[in-house]
Amino acid sequence: MNFAELTISEANQALVKGEISSVEITSKALATIKESDGDIHAFLNVFEEEALQMARDADKRIKQGEKSSLVGIPLAIKDNILVKGFAATAGSKILESYQAAYDATVTKKLRDEGAIFLGKTNLDEFAMGSSTENSGFGPTKNPHDHQRVPGGSSGGSAAAVAANMCLGALGSDTGGSIRQPASFCGIVGLKPTYGAVSRFGLIALASSLDQIGPVTKTVEDSAIIYNVIKGSDILDSTSFINEEVALKKDIKKLTIGVPREYFELESLDGAVKDRVEEAILWYEKQGAKIENISLPSSSLGLASYYLVMPAEASANLARYDGIRYGSSFKTDNLKDLYFKNRGSGFGAEAIRRIMIGTYALSSGYYDAYYKVAKRIQTQIKKDFKDAFGKTDVIMTPTTPTVAFKLGEKVENPLQMYAADIFTVPVNMAGLPAISLPCGRVENLPVGLQIIAPWYQEKLLFKTGLLFEKNH
Protein backbone atom coordinates (compact mmCIF):
# COMPACT_ATOMS: atom_id res chain seq x y z
CA MET A 1 0.00 0.00 0.00
CA ASN A 2 1.45 3.38 -0.97
CA PHE A 3 0.47 5.36 2.09
CA ALA A 4 1.00 8.64 0.29
CA GLU A 5 -1.75 7.80 -2.18
CA LEU A 6 -4.42 7.40 0.49
CA THR A 7 -7.20 9.88 0.96
CA ILE A 8 -7.74 11.39 4.40
CA SER A 9 -10.87 9.29 4.81
CA GLU A 10 -9.06 6.03 3.91
CA ALA A 11 -6.07 6.85 6.08
CA ASN A 12 -8.24 7.81 9.03
CA GLN A 13 -10.13 4.52 8.90
CA ALA A 14 -6.91 2.51 8.64
CA LEU A 15 -5.32 4.47 11.51
CA VAL A 16 -8.24 4.12 13.84
CA LYS A 17 -8.43 0.37 13.12
CA GLY A 18 -4.73 0.07 13.89
CA GLU A 19 -3.86 -1.16 10.40
CA ILE A 20 -1.25 1.52 9.88
CA SER A 21 0.47 4.11 12.03
CA SER A 22 0.77 7.85 11.65
CA VAL A 23 4.55 7.49 11.73
CA GLU A 24 4.35 5.23 8.67
CA ILE A 25 2.15 7.66 6.71
CA THR A 26 4.11 10.71 7.80
CA SER A 27 7.43 9.05 6.95
CA LYS A 28 6.15 8.15 3.52
CA ALA A 29 4.95 11.73 2.96
CA LEU A 30 8.35 13.08 4.03
CA ALA A 31 10.09 10.61 1.72
CA THR A 32 7.89 11.68 -1.19
CA ILE A 33 8.76 15.31 -0.47
CA LYS A 34 12.49 14.46 -0.44
CA GLU A 35 12.12 12.60 -3.72
CA SER A 36 9.96 15.05 -5.70
CA ASP A 37 10.10 18.46 -4.14
CA GLY A 38 13.59 19.34 -5.34
CA ASP A 39 11.92 19.64 -8.71
CA ILE A 40 8.37 20.74 -7.90
CA HIS A 41 9.19 23.16 -5.07
CA ALA A 42 5.80 23.00 -3.37
CA PHE A 43 7.32 23.50 0.09
CA LEU A 44 9.19 26.50 1.46
CA ASN A 45 9.86 24.78 4.77
CA VAL A 46 9.60 21.12 5.81
CA PHE A 47 9.32 20.23 9.51
CA GLU A 48 10.86 16.77 9.37
CA GLU A 49 11.65 16.20 13.04
CA GLU A 50 8.62 18.02 14.38
CA ALA A 51 6.28 16.19 12.00
CA LEU A 52 7.62 12.80 13.12
CA GLN A 53 7.23 13.82 16.75
CA MET A 54 3.64 14.93 16.09
CA ALA A 55 3.08 11.57 14.38
CA ARG A 56 4.42 9.66 17.41
CA ASP A 57 2.12 11.70 19.67
CA ALA A 58 -0.81 10.99 17.35
CA ASP A 59 -0.09 7.25 17.43
CA LYS A 60 -0.15 7.42 21.24
CA ARG A 61 -3.50 9.18 21.13
CA ILE A 62 -4.91 6.60 18.74
CA LYS A 63 -3.75 3.76 21.01
CA GLN A 64 -5.59 5.48 23.85
CA GLY A 65 -8.78 5.38 21.79
CA GLU A 66 -8.70 8.70 19.92
CA LYS A 67 -10.99 8.51 16.90
CA SER A 68 -11.04 12.11 15.63
CA SER A 69 -11.32 12.62 11.87
CA LEU A 70 -7.83 14.06 11.41
CA VAL A 71 -5.72 12.37 14.09
CA GLY A 72 -2.40 11.29 12.59
CA ILE A 73 -3.11 12.80 9.18
CA PRO A 74 -0.14 14.68 7.64
CA LEU A 75 -1.13 18.05 6.17
CA ALA A 76 0.66 20.96 4.53
CA ILE A 77 -0.09 24.57 5.46
CA LYS A 78 0.13 27.55 3.11
CA ASP A 79 2.87 29.90 4.27
CA ASN A 80 0.51 32.82 4.94
CA ILE A 81 -1.14 30.89 7.79
CA LEU A 82 0.68 31.04 11.11
CA VAL A 83 2.07 27.89 12.73
CA LYS A 84 3.70 28.88 16.03
CA GLY A 85 7.46 28.65 16.20
CA PHE A 86 8.01 28.33 12.46
CA ALA A 87 8.76 30.84 9.74
CA ALA A 88 5.76 32.47 8.07
CA THR A 89 7.00 34.33 5.01
CA ALA A 90 3.74 34.81 3.07
CA GLY A 91 6.03 34.11 0.09
CA SER A 92 7.71 37.48 0.57
CA LYS A 93 11.32 38.51 1.16
CA ILE A 94 10.08 41.22 3.51
CA LEU A 95 9.04 38.47 5.95
CA GLU A 96 11.97 36.16 5.24
CA SER A 97 13.08 36.19 8.87
CA TYR A 98 9.65 36.34 10.50
CA GLN A 99 8.76 33.54 12.90
CA ALA A 100 5.11 33.05 13.84
CA ALA A 101 4.57 34.09 17.43
CA TYR A 102 1.28 32.23 17.73
CA ASP A 103 -0.94 29.71 15.99
CA ALA A 104 -3.70 30.77 13.64
CA THR A 105 -7.11 29.66 14.91
CA VAL A 106 -7.31 27.06 12.11
CA THR A 107 -3.84 25.79 13.07
CA LYS A 108 -4.92 25.39 16.66
CA LYS A 109 -8.08 23.54 15.63
CA LEU A 110 -6.11 21.13 13.45
CA ARG A 111 -3.55 20.64 16.21
CA ASP A 112 -6.25 19.85 18.77
CA GLU A 113 -7.71 17.32 16.36
CA GLY A 114 -4.31 15.58 16.17
CA ALA A 115 -3.32 16.46 12.63
CA ILE A 116 0.36 16.46 11.61
CA PHE A 117 2.02 19.50 10.04
CA LEU A 118 4.56 18.52 7.39
CA GLY A 119 5.61 22.04 6.53
CA LYS A 120 4.67 25.35 4.87
CA THR A 121 3.84 25.62 1.21
CA ASN A 122 4.81 28.12 -1.47
CA LEU A 123 2.51 30.89 -2.63
CA ASP A 124 2.43 34.05 -4.69
CA GLU A 125 3.75 36.84 -2.48
CA PHE A 126 1.08 37.86 0.05
CA ALA A 127 -1.36 35.66 -1.91
CA MET A 128 -1.22 38.08 -4.85
CA GLY A 129 -1.22 36.03 -8.00
CA SER A 130 -2.66 33.22 -10.07
CA SER A 131 0.43 31.15 -10.80
CA THR A 132 2.76 31.09 -7.74
CA GLU A 133 5.34 32.79 -10.01
CA ASN A 134 5.18 35.87 -7.80
CA SER A 135 6.73 34.02 -4.86
CA GLY A 136 9.84 35.70 -3.51
CA PHE A 137 11.43 32.26 -3.30
CA GLY A 138 10.93 30.82 -6.77
CA PRO A 139 7.92 29.25 -8.50
CA THR A 140 6.24 25.90 -7.93
CA LYS A 141 5.69 23.48 -10.81
CA ASN A 142 2.50 21.71 -11.80
CA PRO A 143 2.96 17.99 -11.00
CA HIS A 144 1.06 17.10 -14.21
CA ASP A 145 3.51 19.02 -16.40
CA HIS A 146 6.65 20.55 -14.92
CA GLN A 147 6.73 23.24 -17.62
CA ARG A 148 3.44 24.61 -16.38
CA VAL A 149 2.21 26.57 -13.43
CA PRO A 150 0.25 24.91 -10.62
CA GLY A 151 -1.97 27.99 -10.43
CA GLY A 152 -2.01 30.43 -7.55
CA SER A 153 -1.80 31.79 -5.09
CA SER A 154 -2.13 28.44 -3.22
CA GLY A 155 0.05 26.73 -5.85
CA GLY A 156 2.32 25.06 -3.30
CA SER A 157 -0.58 23.49 -1.41
CA ALA A 158 -2.24 22.30 -4.61
CA ALA A 159 0.98 20.82 -6.03
CA ALA A 160 1.77 19.13 -2.71
CA VAL A 161 -1.63 17.40 -2.65
CA ALA A 162 -1.58 16.47 -6.34
CA ALA A 163 1.92 14.99 -5.99
CA ASN A 164 0.99 12.95 -2.90
CA MET A 165 3.42 14.85 -0.69
CA CYS A 166 0.66 15.22 1.89
CA LEU A 167 -2.87 13.91 2.41
CA GLY A 168 -4.40 17.35 2.37
CA ALA A 169 -3.53 21.00 2.79
CA LEU A 170 -4.82 24.42 3.75
CA GLY A 171 -4.91 27.27 1.28
CA SER A 172 -6.44 30.73 1.21
CA ASP A 173 -8.76 32.23 -1.38
CA THR A 174 -9.34 35.94 -2.03
CA GLY A 175 -10.21 35.88 -5.74
CA GLY A 176 -9.83 32.19 -6.57
CA SER A 177 -6.54 31.27 -4.94
CA ILE A 178 -7.76 27.85 -3.74
CA ARG A 179 -10.14 26.96 -6.55
CA GLN A 180 -7.95 27.93 -9.51
CA PRO A 181 -4.86 25.93 -8.44
CA ALA A 182 -7.14 23.04 -7.50
CA SER A 183 -8.51 23.19 -11.05
CA PHE A 184 -5.02 23.35 -12.64
CA CYS A 185 -3.72 20.48 -10.50
CA GLY A 186 -6.73 18.18 -10.83
CA ILE A 187 -7.78 18.18 -7.19
CA VAL A 188 -10.51 19.63 -4.96
CA GLY A 189 -10.48 23.14 -3.50
CA LEU A 190 -13.14 24.80 -1.35
CA LYS A 191 -13.63 28.46 -0.58
CA PRO A 192 -16.06 28.64 2.34
CA THR A 193 -18.73 31.30 2.85
CA TYR A 194 -17.06 34.53 3.97
CA GLY A 195 -16.77 34.38 7.74
CA ALA A 196 -17.34 30.62 8.05
CA VAL A 197 -13.67 30.06 8.85
CA SER A 198 -11.72 32.37 11.15
CA ARG A 199 -9.08 34.60 9.57
CA PHE A 200 -7.16 35.01 12.84
CA GLY A 201 -3.58 34.11 12.05
CA LEU A 202 -4.01 34.44 8.27
CA ILE A 203 -1.66 37.09 6.94
CA ALA A 204 -4.22 39.44 5.45
CA LEU A 205 -4.50 40.38 1.80
CA ALA A 206 -8.04 41.76 1.44
CA SER A 207 -9.95 41.54 4.69
CA SER A 208 -13.43 41.58 3.16
CA LEU A 209 -12.62 38.78 0.71
CA ASP A 210 -10.03 36.40 2.26
CA GLN A 211 -11.03 32.92 3.42
CA ILE A 212 -8.99 29.89 4.45
CA GLY A 213 -10.11 26.59 2.98
CA PRO A 214 -9.14 22.95 2.39
CA VAL A 215 -7.13 21.70 -0.60
CA THR A 216 -7.69 17.94 -0.90
CA LYS A 217 -7.77 14.93 -3.19
CA THR A 218 -11.50 14.36 -2.79
CA VAL A 219 -14.74 16.16 -1.94
CA GLU A 220 -15.15 13.80 1.02
CA ASP A 221 -11.77 14.91 2.41
CA SER A 222 -12.69 18.55 1.81
CA ALA A 223 -15.74 18.15 4.05
CA ILE A 224 -13.62 16.47 6.74
CA ILE A 225 -11.15 19.35 6.96
CA TYR A 226 -13.86 22.02 6.62
CA ASN A 227 -15.82 20.57 9.52
CA VAL A 228 -12.75 20.90 11.74
CA ILE A 229 -11.69 24.42 10.76
CA LYS A 230 -15.10 26.10 10.48
CA GLY A 231 -16.76 28.11 13.21
CA SER A 232 -17.10 31.64 14.52
CA ASP A 233 -14.14 32.87 16.51
CA ILE A 234 -14.01 35.57 19.16
CA LEU A 235 -10.63 36.60 17.72
CA ASP A 236 -12.14 37.35 14.28
CA SER A 237 -15.06 39.74 14.49
CA THR A 238 -15.98 39.06 10.86
CA SER A 239 -16.44 35.35 11.49
CA PHE A 240 -20.00 34.18 11.64
CA ILE A 241 -21.62 30.92 10.64
CA ASN A 242 -25.26 30.09 10.11
CA GLU A 243 -25.71 26.36 10.31
CA GLU A 244 -29.46 26.23 10.35
CA VAL A 245 -29.77 25.84 6.60
CA ALA A 246 -31.13 22.39 5.81
CA LEU A 247 -31.00 20.47 2.56
CA LYS A 248 -34.50 20.33 1.24
CA LYS A 249 -34.59 17.87 -1.59
CA ASP A 250 -33.23 14.76 -3.19
CA ILE A 251 -29.75 15.72 -4.30
CA LYS A 252 -30.35 14.22 -7.74
CA LYS A 253 -33.29 16.55 -8.41
CA LEU A 254 -31.34 19.77 -8.06
CA THR A 255 -31.93 22.81 -10.20
CA ILE A 256 -28.57 23.80 -11.63
CA GLY A 257 -28.08 27.36 -12.83
CA VAL A 258 -25.84 27.82 -15.86
CA PRO A 259 -24.91 31.50 -16.28
CA ARG A 260 -24.74 32.44 -19.95
CA GLU A 261 -22.22 35.23 -19.45
CA TYR A 262 -19.67 32.69 -18.20
CA PHE A 263 -20.18 30.15 -20.99
CA GLU A 264 -20.31 32.74 -23.77
CA LEU A 265 -17.04 34.35 -22.73
CA GLU A 266 -14.71 34.61 -25.72
CA SER A 267 -11.63 33.71 -23.75
CA LEU A 268 -13.15 30.44 -22.48
CA ASP A 269 -11.23 27.65 -24.17
CA GLY A 270 -13.50 25.42 -26.30
CA ALA A 271 -12.21 22.14 -24.93
CA VAL A 272 -12.49 23.35 -21.33
CA LYS A 273 -16.06 24.41 -22.05
CA ASP A 274 -16.81 20.94 -23.46
CA ARG A 275 -15.52 19.14 -20.35
CA VAL A 276 -17.59 21.35 -18.06
CA GLU A 277 -20.74 21.05 -20.17
CA GLU A 278 -20.31 17.26 -20.23
CA ALA A 279 -20.21 17.29 -16.43
CA ILE A 280 -23.36 19.40 -16.21
CA LEU A 281 -25.10 17.07 -18.68
CA TRP A 282 -24.12 14.16 -16.47
CA TYR A 283 -25.98 15.78 -13.58
CA GLU A 284 -28.97 16.25 -15.88
CA LYS A 285 -28.93 12.53 -16.66
CA GLN A 286 -29.12 11.82 -12.92
CA GLY A 287 -32.33 13.86 -12.72
CA ALA A 288 -31.17 17.44 -12.23
CA LYS A 289 -32.93 20.32 -13.96
CA ILE A 290 -30.76 22.74 -15.93
CA GLU A 291 -31.80 26.39 -15.82
CA ASN A 292 -30.18 28.99 -18.04
CA ILE A 293 -29.63 32.08 -15.96
CA SER A 294 -28.06 35.47 -16.32
CA LEU A 295 -25.59 37.15 -13.98
CA PRO A 296 -25.43 40.58 -15.66
CA SER A 297 -22.79 42.06 -13.38
CA SER A 298 -20.36 39.25 -14.30
CA SER A 299 -18.58 41.48 -16.80
CA LEU A 300 -17.79 43.96 -14.02
CA GLY A 301 -16.62 41.40 -11.47
CA LEU A 302 -12.97 41.35 -12.40
CA ALA A 303 -12.61 45.12 -12.73
CA SER A 304 -14.33 45.87 -9.43
CA TYR A 305 -12.27 43.15 -7.71
CA TYR A 306 -9.08 44.73 -9.02
CA LEU A 307 -10.08 47.95 -7.27
CA VAL A 308 -11.49 46.62 -3.98
CA MET A 309 -8.76 44.05 -3.39
CA PRO A 310 -5.71 46.29 -4.05
CA ALA A 311 -7.30 49.05 -1.96
CA GLU A 312 -7.62 46.71 1.00
CA ALA A 313 -4.19 45.23 0.30
CA SER A 314 -2.55 48.64 0.35
CA ALA A 315 -3.95 49.17 3.85
CA ASN A 316 -3.10 45.67 5.06
CA LEU A 317 0.46 45.79 3.76
CA ALA A 318 1.19 49.17 5.34
CA ARG A 319 2.33 47.32 8.47
CA TYR A 320 5.41 45.93 6.73
CA ASP A 321 7.74 48.75 7.64
CA GLY A 322 10.77 46.87 8.90
CA ILE A 323 10.26 48.05 12.47
CA ARG A 324 8.23 45.41 14.31
CA TYR A 325 9.29 42.56 12.05
CA GLY A 326 10.98 42.04 8.74
CA SER A 327 14.27 43.26 7.47
CA SER A 328 15.61 46.54 8.68
CA PHE A 329 18.06 48.82 7.00
CA LYS A 330 20.09 51.10 9.19
CA THR A 331 19.01 54.59 8.20
CA ASP A 332 19.18 57.92 9.95
CA ASN A 333 15.56 58.85 9.43
CA LEU A 334 12.16 57.20 9.53
CA LYS A 335 11.15 57.95 5.96
CA ASP A 336 14.20 56.26 4.45
CA LEU A 337 13.61 53.24 6.68
CA TYR A 338 10.13 52.77 5.22
CA PHE A 339 11.15 53.46 1.64
CA LYS A 340 14.15 51.17 1.62
CA ASN A 341 12.62 48.25 3.50
CA ARG A 342 9.47 48.26 1.46
CA GLY A 343 11.18 49.01 -1.85
CA SER A 344 13.55 46.10 -1.51
CA GLY A 345 11.35 43.67 0.43
CA PHE A 346 8.27 43.69 -1.81
CA GLY A 347 8.19 42.06 -5.24
CA ALA A 348 6.85 43.69 -8.41
CA GLU A 349 3.26 42.41 -8.16
CA ALA A 350 2.93 43.42 -4.52
CA ILE A 351 4.19 46.90 -5.36
CA ARG A 352 1.87 47.07 -8.36
CA ARG A 353 -1.19 46.24 -6.28
CA ILE A 354 -0.24 48.50 -3.38
CA MET A 355 0.12 51.34 -5.90
CA ILE A 356 -3.26 50.66 -7.54
CA GLY A 357 -4.88 50.53 -4.13
CA THR A 358 -3.16 53.68 -2.92
CA TYR A 359 -4.25 55.48 -6.09
CA ALA A 360 -7.85 54.25 -5.85
CA LEU A 361 -8.11 55.43 -2.26
CA SER A 362 -6.27 58.71 -2.64
CA SER A 363 -7.91 62.08 -2.42
CA GLY A 364 -9.64 62.96 -5.66
CA TYR A 365 -10.00 59.38 -6.79
CA TYR A 366 -11.77 57.64 -3.91
CA ASP A 367 -15.28 58.37 -5.18
CA ALA A 368 -14.51 57.61 -8.81
CA TYR A 369 -12.84 54.29 -8.19
CA TYR A 370 -13.17 52.64 -4.78
CA LYS A 371 -16.70 53.74 -3.98
CA VAL A 372 -17.95 52.75 -7.42
CA ALA A 373 -16.33 49.33 -7.09
CA LYS A 374 -17.99 48.77 -3.70
CA ARG A 375 -21.37 49.55 -5.26
CA ILE A 376 -20.73 47.04 -8.04
CA GLN A 377 -20.02 44.51 -5.30
CA THR A 378 -23.56 44.99 -4.00
CA GLN A 379 -24.82 44.49 -7.55
CA ILE A 380 -22.89 41.23 -7.94
CA LYS A 381 -24.33 39.95 -4.67
CA LYS A 382 -27.86 40.85 -5.76
CA ASP A 383 -27.47 39.01 -9.08
CA PHE A 384 -26.51 35.84 -7.26
CA LYS A 385 -29.35 36.24 -4.75
CA ASP A 386 -31.83 36.56 -7.60
CA ALA A 387 -30.34 33.52 -9.34
CA PHE A 388 -30.58 31.41 -6.17
CA GLY A 389 -34.26 32.30 -6.06
CA LYS A 390 -34.76 29.85 -8.92
CA THR A 391 -31.75 27.54 -8.67
CA ASP A 392 -30.17 25.40 -5.96
CA VAL A 393 -26.58 25.61 -7.21
CA ILE A 394 -24.73 27.35 -10.02
CA MET A 395 -22.14 25.55 -12.15
CA THR A 396 -19.38 27.16 -14.21
CA PRO A 397 -15.88 26.34 -15.39
CA THR A 398 -13.40 27.19 -12.61
CA THR A 399 -10.95 28.76 -15.08
CA PRO A 400 -11.09 29.78 -18.77
CA THR A 401 -8.07 27.63 -19.65
CA VAL A 402 -6.01 24.71 -18.40
CA ALA A 403 -2.68 25.37 -16.68
CA PHE A 404 -0.56 27.76 -18.73
CA LYS A 405 3.21 27.58 -19.14
CA LEU A 406 5.66 29.06 -16.66
CA GLY A 407 6.65 32.53 -17.82
CA GLU A 408 3.73 32.77 -20.25
CA LYS A 409 1.70 35.45 -18.47
CA VAL A 410 4.09 36.84 -15.91
CA GLU A 411 5.02 39.91 -17.99
CA ASN A 412 1.41 40.86 -18.65
CA PRO A 413 -0.51 41.58 -15.46
CA LEU A 414 -3.92 42.02 -17.10
CA GLN A 415 -3.65 38.65 -18.85
CA MET A 416 -2.74 37.04 -15.54
CA TYR A 417 -5.69 38.72 -13.80
CA ALA A 418 -8.04 37.27 -16.43
CA ALA A 419 -7.31 33.77 -15.09
CA ASP A 420 -9.58 34.63 -12.15
CA ILE A 421 -12.57 35.82 -14.16
CA PHE A 422 -14.87 32.97 -13.04
CA THR A 423 -13.73 32.76 -9.44
CA VAL A 424 -13.61 36.42 -8.41
CA PRO A 425 -17.38 37.19 -8.39
CA VAL A 426 -17.83 34.44 -5.78
CA ASN A 427 -15.50 36.21 -3.34
CA MET A 428 -17.15 39.55 -4.06
CA ALA A 429 -20.51 38.04 -3.08
CA GLY A 430 -19.15 36.15 -0.06
CA LEU A 431 -20.50 32.85 -1.39
CA PRO A 432 -19.11 29.34 -0.89
CA ALA A 433 -17.77 27.49 -3.94
CA ILE A 434 -15.89 24.31 -4.66
CA SER A 435 -13.77 23.23 -7.63
CA LEU A 436 -13.56 19.55 -8.49
CA PRO A 437 -11.86 17.77 -11.38
CA CYS A 438 -14.22 16.98 -14.27
CA GLY A 439 -11.93 15.78 -17.05
CA ARG A 440 -8.79 16.53 -18.99
CA VAL A 441 -7.74 18.49 -22.05
CA GLU A 442 -4.57 16.98 -23.55
CA ASN A 443 -3.93 15.40 -20.16
CA LEU A 444 -4.20 18.69 -18.28
CA PRO A 445 -6.92 18.86 -15.60
CA VAL A 446 -10.14 20.84 -15.97
CA GLY A 447 -12.12 22.05 -12.96
CA LEU A 448 -15.88 22.33 -12.48
CA GLN A 449 -16.88 25.14 -10.13
CA ILE A 450 -20.03 24.65 -8.09
CA ILE A 451 -21.40 27.71 -6.27
CA ALA A 452 -24.00 27.42 -3.50
CA PRO A 453 -25.97 30.00 -1.53
CA TRP A 454 -24.47 31.49 1.61
CA TYR A 455 -23.68 28.91 4.36
CA GLN A 456 -24.70 25.95 2.19
CA GLU A 457 -21.35 24.16 2.16
CA LYS A 458 -23.23 20.93 2.91
CA LEU A 459 -25.03 21.33 -0.42
CA LEU A 460 -21.69 21.80 -2.18
CA PHE A 461 -20.34 18.62 -0.63
CA LYS A 462 -23.41 16.55 -1.45
CA THR A 463 -23.52 17.79 -5.04
CA GLY A 464 -19.79 17.23 -5.49
CA LEU A 465 -19.87 13.80 -3.86
CA LEU A 466 -22.58 12.66 -6.26
CA PHE A 467 -20.20 13.30 -9.18
CA GLU A 468 -17.13 12.02 -7.36
CA LYS A 469 -18.66 8.68 -6.40
CA ASN A 470 -20.71 7.93 -9.52
CA HIS A 471 -19.15 9.60 -12.52
Binding site: S97, Y98, Q99, A101, Y102, T193, Y194, G195, S208, I234, L235, S237, T238, F240, S297, S299, L300, A303, S304, Y306, S314, A318, I323, R324, Y325, S328, T331, D332, N333, L334, F339, K340, R342, G343, S344, F346, I351, R352, I354, M355, I356, T358, Y359, S362, Y369, V372, A373, K374, R375, I376, Q377, T378, Q379, K381, K382, P413, L414, A429, G430, W454
Partner: protein, 103 residues
Amino acid sequence: MANISSKEIKHIAELARIEINEAEIKKFSRELSAILDFVEALQKSPGIKTGDGEQIMGLENIFRQDKEHNLLKEKGKILIEQAPNKKDSFVEVPEILKRDEKI
Protein backbone atom coordinates in the same frame (compact mmCIF):
# COMPACT_ATOMS: atom_id res chain seq x y z
CA MET B 1 -6.79 55.92 -22.53
CA ALA B 2 -5.88 56.46 -18.92
CA ASN B 3 -2.46 57.91 -18.62
CA ILE B 4 -0.73 57.93 -15.28
CA SER B 5 2.28 60.18 -15.55
CA SER B 6 5.67 59.55 -14.01
CA LYS B 7 4.89 62.43 -11.66
CA GLU B 8 1.75 60.66 -10.45
CA ILE B 9 3.60 57.36 -10.05
CA LYS B 10 6.21 59.14 -7.93
CA HIS B 11 3.43 60.65 -5.83
CA ILE B 12 1.73 57.27 -5.31
CA ALA B 13 5.04 55.64 -4.40
CA GLU B 14 5.59 58.44 -1.90
CA LEU B 15 2.18 57.85 -0.33
CA ALA B 16 2.81 54.09 -0.20
CA ARG B 17 6.32 54.64 1.21
CA ILE B 18 7.96 52.47 -1.42
CA GLU B 19 11.26 53.38 -3.04
CA ILE B 20 11.26 52.78 -6.80
CA ASN B 21 13.89 53.62 -9.44
CA GLU B 22 13.52 55.38 -12.81
CA ALA B 23 13.07 52.17 -14.78
CA GLU B 24 10.38 51.01 -12.38
CA ILE B 25 8.60 54.39 -12.60
CA LYS B 26 8.32 53.97 -16.39
CA LYS B 27 7.18 50.36 -16.08
CA PHE B 28 4.55 51.09 -13.44
CA SER B 29 3.31 54.10 -15.38
CA ARG B 30 2.64 51.83 -18.35
CA GLU B 31 1.14 48.98 -16.33
CA LEU B 32 -1.04 51.07 -14.06
CA SER B 33 -2.39 53.04 -17.03
CA ALA B 34 -3.43 49.77 -18.66
CA ILE B 35 -5.04 48.48 -15.48
CA LEU B 36 -6.91 51.74 -14.95
CA ASP B 37 -8.12 51.56 -18.54
CA PHE B 38 -9.51 48.18 -17.68
CA VAL B 39 -11.34 49.39 -14.58
CA GLU B 40 -12.64 52.53 -16.37
CA ALA B 41 -15.37 50.22 -17.72
CA LEU B 42 -16.98 50.40 -14.29
CA GLN B 43 -17.74 54.07 -14.81
CA LYS B 44 -19.97 53.37 -17.76
CA SER B 45 -22.01 50.62 -16.13
CA PRO B 46 -25.65 51.28 -15.27
CA GLY B 47 -26.99 50.80 -11.77
CA ILE B 48 -23.86 52.01 -10.05
CA LYS B 49 -25.99 54.12 -7.78
CA THR B 50 -27.24 51.07 -5.91
CA GLY B 51 -25.77 49.83 -2.71
CA ASP B 52 -23.82 51.62 -0.07
CA GLY B 53 -20.80 49.36 0.19
CA GLU B 54 -22.14 47.80 3.37
CA GLN B 55 -20.35 44.87 5.04
CA ILE B 56 -20.43 41.91 2.70
CA MET B 57 -22.43 39.59 4.99
CA GLY B 58 -24.64 42.27 6.54
CA LEU B 59 -22.84 42.15 9.89
CA GLU B 60 -23.20 45.23 12.04
CA ASN B 61 -21.69 46.47 15.28
CA ILE B 62 -19.77 43.36 16.28
CA PHE B 63 -18.17 44.17 19.63
CA ARG B 64 -16.44 42.19 22.33
CA GLN B 65 -16.30 42.69 26.07
CA ASP B 66 -13.65 45.18 27.14
CA LYS B 67 -11.71 42.52 29.00
CA GLU B 68 -8.10 41.42 28.78
CA HIS B 69 -7.64 38.18 26.89
CA ASN B 70 -4.08 37.33 27.96
CA LEU B 71 -3.38 35.68 24.64
CA LEU B 72 0.37 35.99 24.97
CA LYS B 73 2.64 35.09 27.84
CA GLU B 74 4.92 37.68 29.45
CA LYS B 75 3.03 40.59 27.94
CA GLY B 76 3.96 39.73 24.41
CA LYS B 77 7.69 39.21 24.93
CA ILE B 78 7.60 36.95 21.91
CA LEU B 79 6.35 39.84 19.78
CA ILE B 80 9.15 42.14 20.91
CA GLU B 81 11.56 39.40 19.96
CA GLN B 82 10.33 39.61 16.35
CA ALA B 83 11.63 43.15 16.00
CA PRO B 84 14.96 43.57 14.22
CA ASN B 85 15.99 46.34 16.62
CA LYS B 86 15.00 46.12 20.26
CA LYS B 87 16.09 46.95 23.78
CA ASP B 88 14.67 45.32 26.92
CA SER B 89 10.91 45.30 26.44
CA PHE B 90 10.94 48.03 23.81
CA VAL B 91 11.01 47.99 20.04
CA GLU B 92 13.67 50.42 18.88
CA VAL B 93 12.48 52.98 16.33
CA PRO B 94 14.22 55.87 14.60
CA GLU B 95 13.97 59.30 16.12
CA ILE B 96 10.82 60.97 14.80
CA LEU B 97 11.13 64.39 16.36
CA LYS B 98 14.58 65.88 16.40
CA ARG B 99 15.77 67.22 19.74
CA ASP B 100 15.85 70.86 18.77
CA GLU B 101 12.81 70.73 16.52
CA LYS B 102 9.96 73.07 17.41
CA ILE B 103 6.62 71.30 17.37
